[in-house]
Every structure is written in structure tokens, then in C-alpha cells.
């Protein structure tokens, strides 16, 4: 307690009884109690009342406590707490690399990086989309060969439009392929015009004129819009013959279209025939 120096005397005495006075205040008040009979009498009165009341309060502690009260407190529900289930002891592994371990790891990473760089640099070039797609000329020839192998074995369904509708064939295939052409008359080569069909090769519409020779073998002239090869061949021959199994293919290019003559690989005059067709188609 502070500032009790100017408080009423009984309050100062009360504070003295409770040991709440500061040391100077206590000394000052005790000096007053030693010299002032009225103050001393007040002190004695208050202390006597204090002692009597304390005895009365202490007597209250001897009063019996009911058993129900004790039982209620002993059985008080403790607060719910989160239960932690026992867990398996996991081995603790802390990373404490030594200097030698750090050096070894560094050399290992360097070696791996070097090897990876060598492998990447060893490739001449990256794979391009064009590579994945392949050479368009080769893809076109592959499809033409496949269709030839399929349709050349047909008898009733060899063509879509028969030779009797030649005018319609020209209009139809010109409109579809975008290639202007004439139907070559190859009667001199003992080839009869059977008709025409349309199919897709290398992702392009391809018109095909179908002939049959005296042996019943099928000779087909296929054409499509000009295909530019991936690698320009400046000194490429005008006619190029390839053989795939039992199929012979002779390819050439015109001003606006690419052509391929397809026939049995056993036909020795296929290139000669192609040269003649190239001049009249």
C-alpha cells in the first residue's frame, strides 16, 4: 500500500495489522502508538476484534464436510485430451555428410552430368516433326503400292467408275485431285482401259487409271498434286523405278503433278511404258 501516511489513523492501524505498511510508515506508526494512548487503545481494540474473528473463522474449518461433496470432487470428470496412439519407433536418420562424402557425391554428380551431356551432344540432330511424319514421297508410294496390292486382286470391283464413263472420270478426278489429265490410249501396248478409282495416299487424294494387259495383269497410273520431296534432287532422273516385292513402281513428276505407274515387277517394259505415258497424259 502506498500513500497511507495521510490516511486516517484506523486505516493505518489496519494496514499495520496486515503488514502492508512500508518500513518508514511502520516505524512512524509504532512510535505514535508508543506515545499516543488513544491510538494505542484503538490499535488494541482492532487487534482484539481481529483475533476474535480469526478464531471464529478457524473454528469453521472443523465443521464436517459432507461425503457427497467429497465424492463429487473426487469423481470430477477430467478434461478430454487428445489421445496419441503409440507409434512405431522410426529410425531417425539425420544427414551429417563428411567432407569425403561431399567430395564423392560432387564427383558422382559431375560424372553423371558429363555423361548426359556427351549422350545429348552425340546425337547429330534432334528428331523433327518432319522426320516423324516421314518423307511425303515415300509415304505416297507406300500407300499407292498398298492399294495396288489390294485392288489388283479384285475382279468385279476393280474400279469405281468403268471405262464407259471416260468423260465423267476426267471431270471427277480433275475436280477431286486438282490435276488436269487425259486418259492415255494404250491400245498399242495391248493395254485395255478398265476404269478409274479414287483413294487417299500420303494424306492426298489420288486418282488412278486402271488398265489390264492381255495376261490379265493390272497396270495402274496414279497421280496427285505435285509432291515436293524433303531433299530436293537436282540431278534426279525423270523416271525412277523401284520394286517392292512383286510390285514395280515407276515415278516421275510433271509440272503440276506427281505420277507413278504401278504394275507387276515381272514386267520388263514398265519403265518404257512410263516414259510413253509421261508424254501423253
Amino acid at each position: 500500500m502506498e500513500n497511507l501516511r495521510h490516511a486516517p489513523l484506523d486505516m493505518r492501524i489496519s494496514a499495520l495489522l496486515d503488514n502492508e505498511l512500508s518500513e518508514p510508515e511502520r516505524l512512524e506508526l509504532e512510535a505514535l502508538l508508543g506515545t499516543d494512548p488513544q491510538a494505542r487503545a484503538l490499535f488494541d481494540t482492532l487487534r482484539a476484534a481481529d483475533d476474535e474473528a480469526c478464531l471464529a473463522f478457524k473454528a469453521m474449518l472443523k465443521e464436517p464436510v459432507s461425503l457427497d461433496l467429497v465424492r463429487s470432487i473426487k469423481t470430477a470428470t477430467p478434461p478430454r485430451r487428445a489421445v496419441r496412439l503409440p507409434e512405431e519407433q522410426r529410425p531417425r536418420w539425420t544427414l551429417r555428410p563428411s567432407f569425403s562424402l561431399v567430395c564423392a557425391a560432387s564427383f558422382l554428380m559431375f560424372g553423371l552430368g558429363t555423361a548426359a551431356g556427351y549422350l545429348v551432344a552425340g546425337r547429330p540432330q534432334m528428331v523433327t516433326y518432319a522426320e516423324l511424319a516421314g518423307d511425303p514421297v515415300r509415304a505416297w508410294l507406300d500407300d499407292v503400292a498398298s492399294y495396288y496390292r489390294l485392288y489388283s486382286r479384285q475382279t468385279r470391283h476393280l474400279v469405281e467408275v468403268p471405262a464407259t464413263e471416260s468423260a465423267h472420270i476426267v471431270d471427277w478426278l480433275m475436280a477431286t485431285t486438282g490435276v488436269s489429265f487425259r486418259i492415255p490410249n494404250l491400245a498399242a501396248e495391248k493395254l485395255d482401259f478398265v476404269g478409274a478409282r479414287l483413294f487417299s495416299a500420303g494424306g492426298r487424294p489420288v486418282g488412278q487409271l486402271v488398265y489390264r494387259n492381255s495376261d490379265g495383269e493390272v497396270i495402274a497410273i496414279s497421280f496427285t498434286k505435285l509432291i515436293t520431296p524433303n531433299e530436293p534432287q537436282t540431278d534426279a532422273p525423270p523416271l525412277r523405278q523401284t520394286i517392292r516385292d512383286d510390285i514395280g513402281l515407276v515415278t516421275w513428276q510433271g509440272l503440276q503433278a506427281s505420277y507413278v505407274l504401278t504394275g507387276p515387277s515381272s514386267d520388263a517394259d514398265l519403265d518404257t511404258l512410263a516414259a510413253r505415258i509421261a508424254g501423253i497424259i
Binding site: 500500500m1 497511507l4 484506523d10 486505516m11 489496519s14 494496514a15 495489522l17 496486515d18 503488514n19 502492508e20 481494540t45 482492532l46 482484539a48 476484534a49 481481529d50 476474535e52 474473528a53 480469526c54 471464529a56 473463522f57 478457524k58 473454528a59 469453521m60 474449518l61 472443523k62 465443521e63 464436510v65 459432507s66 457427497d68 461433496l69 467429497v70 463429487s72 470432487i73 473426487k74 470430477a76 470428470t77 477430467p78 478434461p79 485430451r81
Partner: protein
């Protein structure tokens, strides 16, 4: 010490302090009917909130404070009724010499006198328990002593 053990210890300690706790309840409420219920409520809250008690805080002082808070909040008011209108025969001091002094004290001074003069708390500690200032504690102590000395003088005069 595990939590379970600490809970058990708190309940055991509370039972050990029951006479003091119950006496403070009497001084606080002056009503015999709901004293035990107030004591139970305070003890249950002490058990429930035992983890909130500071290590340096005495358990009995903490329960006193919880009890005073419960009483001030009026949580048990309907069980106690209006103390000021209680008939004299139902008051704490009725029929008990030990309660006579308590019954003669001013209503607000009785718990403060009990804390400081009997339990030995300082004014600051008692102020914390009662939620008042130390100066208010000093004033209430003075009022209590004045009343006690007056009663003593009156009793002496009646005997004479």
C-alpha cells in the same frame, strides 16, 4: 508427472482444501443452501481448467478466484436467491458461534477479511482473487475491523 497423475493430484488436493474452500464460499455467499453446489462447480472448473493454472499459483487461491468469478457471473444466483432478503434464521451464522463474526461483517468485506486476516494473503493477492484494487481491499479490511470492534464493544456493554 503424467497428465493423468496430475488430474488425480488436483482432485485429491482439492479435497484436502475443502474446509478452506467451503469457508470462503460461506463468506462469499452468506447462504448455506447453495454453498456445496458452488464449491462443486468451482472444483469441477478447477479440474477442467487445471492446465491453465500457473505453476506459481496456489491451488486454493486459484479456486477462490474461480469461485468468486462464478458467483459474480450469477451462474448460481437462482440457487441462492437474494441474500439481502434472507431471514436471519437462514443465514450462515445462525446457531453457530463460529459463524457469528462472519454474519456481522459487511457483505463485501467478509471474503476480503477472510483472505487477508485469516488466510494470510497480501492486499495485492486478495485484490487479484476478488477482482478489485489493493486500495479497495484496504478499505474493506478497515470496514470489517470497525464492524468487528463495534460488535465486540456492544457485546461487552451488554455483558456489563
Amino acid at each position: 508427472m503424467s497428465d493423468k497423475t496430475r488430474q488425480t493430484d488436483i482432485r485429491r488436493d482439492l479435497v484436502g482444501f475443502l474446509p478452506q474452500i467451503r469457508r470462503f464460499a460461506m463468506a462469499l455467499t452468506r447462504h448455506p443452501a447453495g454453498i456445496d453446489q458452488l464449491v462443486v462447480r468451482a472444483c469441477e472448473e478447477a479440474v477442467d481448467k487445471s492446465h491453465l493454472r500457473r505453476e506459481d499459483q496456489r491451488l486454493d487461491h486459484w479456486v477462490f478466484m474461480l469461485m468468486r468469478t462464478l458467483w459474480a457471473a450469477g451462474a448460481l444466483a437462482k440457487d441462492f436467491g437474494d441474500t439481502d432478503t434472507l431471514p436471519q434464521s437462514t443465514r450462515v451464522g445462525a446457531g453457530s458461534s463460529g459463524h457469528a463474526a462472519l454474519d456481522g461483517l459487511p457483505f463485501t468485506s467478509a471474503p476480503v477479511f477472510l483472505l487477508c486476516a485469516v488466510e494470510g494473503l497480501s492486499y495485492a493477492e486478495a485484490a487479484t482473487v476478488m477482482g478489485i484494487t489493493p486500495d479497495a481491499v484496504a478499505v474493506r479490511m478497515l470496514l470489517a475491523r470497525r464492524e468487528l470492534s463495534a460488535q465486540k464493544t456492544h457485546a461487552s456493554e451488554r455483558r456489563a
